[in-house]
Symmetry: C2
Subunit: 197 residues, 2 copies
């Protein structure tokens, strides 16, 4: 249900909208959010099953103004770009750090939405012997890969290309299995790639 | 300089206040903030010297309202209690997770400002073989200790006491050396306690 007013603005009833979002949850429009949601739900499952402890880092917020007279209410603040990555935690004593990205592109993964700070951060994670990777979703193929961060860093250093071909990701990454619970079994992919099991 | 008006309110000129804060930076009033500052500066040093990669987690913020018409300006939000700990990161491949606390108490460390969620979180870190500890500052003694999280968890489980005696912390913790750079060499304390070196 959508009503267009003469001022051009759309009226979307809240309840209707929520319903629509639920039904449309696997549509391509929402897949970017679904990737995050799938990872968060997988993390919850992993935590409950004592498999690992992985958290989403909160989006950093630049706080401009706080009203202390109203119970420390923040009245002026802005979202900042993540200078590290989306997720980190611990699995079998090892430090885990990764970024999740999705693309609507079918033939390659564009590198423009990986920030320099994130590459620098992942370089440091590798230096300190942490496990660093990307989770990359090809939305239209409905395929999700774990790709070692070193592969991406090397690719950026050695290539002029602004994107990594799908074929290279398929060859060098680990396909992450989808399921009911966990939604995205990326720990099995970690086992395969980093623990050889 | 401080002027008292007839309404009882104090007038503190901003510049004067800043100066005072700088001069008073080691006073007991500011030591809680100094502990955080010392750890953050030590982390910066460790990062630059390629020793380890430890970050302060941002304080979680509950966002109530965002004004998208003004460049995603957050207009209503509140600080939330940290459900995990203040710091995490990686050292020699191992996952590191800790909470920093200071006390003005001279004879014991009060447990009331450690939240249940944090204990639960640290329990999970230990379960997954991460390195979990507290950095505890006795302000009046000007002593800072690294204390294994398991010691605190066991203490809470086995005791009715609401505080850990100073003597037990001195006996079971590792005294962290203060210096110019790093300000608080807690990595050396980790080496002693967890890596036996």
């Amino acid at each position: 249900m959508m009503i267009k007013y003469s001022n051009g603005k759309e009226y979307k009833p809240t309840i209707e909208k929520k319903k629509t979002m639920k039904i449309k949850s696997r549509s391509s429009a929402n897949r970017g959010m679904n990737l995050e949601d799938d990872i968060n739900k997988s993390n919850k499952y992993y935590l409950e099953k004592n498999i690992c402890l992985i958290y989403k880092r909160p989006t950093p917020i630049n706080i401009v103004k706080v009203d202390y007279s109203r119970g420390s209410k923040i009245t002026d603040a802005y979202f900042e770009k993540q200078s590290t990555t989306d997720y980190n935690g611990v699995y079998k004593g090892r430090y885990i750090d990764f970024e999740a990205k999705n693309t609507k592109n079918n033939s390659s993964f564009p590198l423009h939405n990986i920030y320099k700070h994130q590459i620098e951060h992942l370089r440091n994670v590798i230096l300190h012997q942490g496990i660093a990777f990307f989770i990359i979703e090809f939305e239209l193929k409905d395929e999700v890969y774990l790709l070692d961060a070193k592969f991406i860093i090397d690719f950026i250093e050695k290539n002029e290309r602004k994107s990594i071909p799908y074929s290279e990701i398929k060859e060098n990454g680990i396909l992450i299995e989808r399921g009911y619970n966990p939604r995205l079994d990326y720990i099995s992919a970690i086992d395969k790639f980093y623990f050889n099991c």
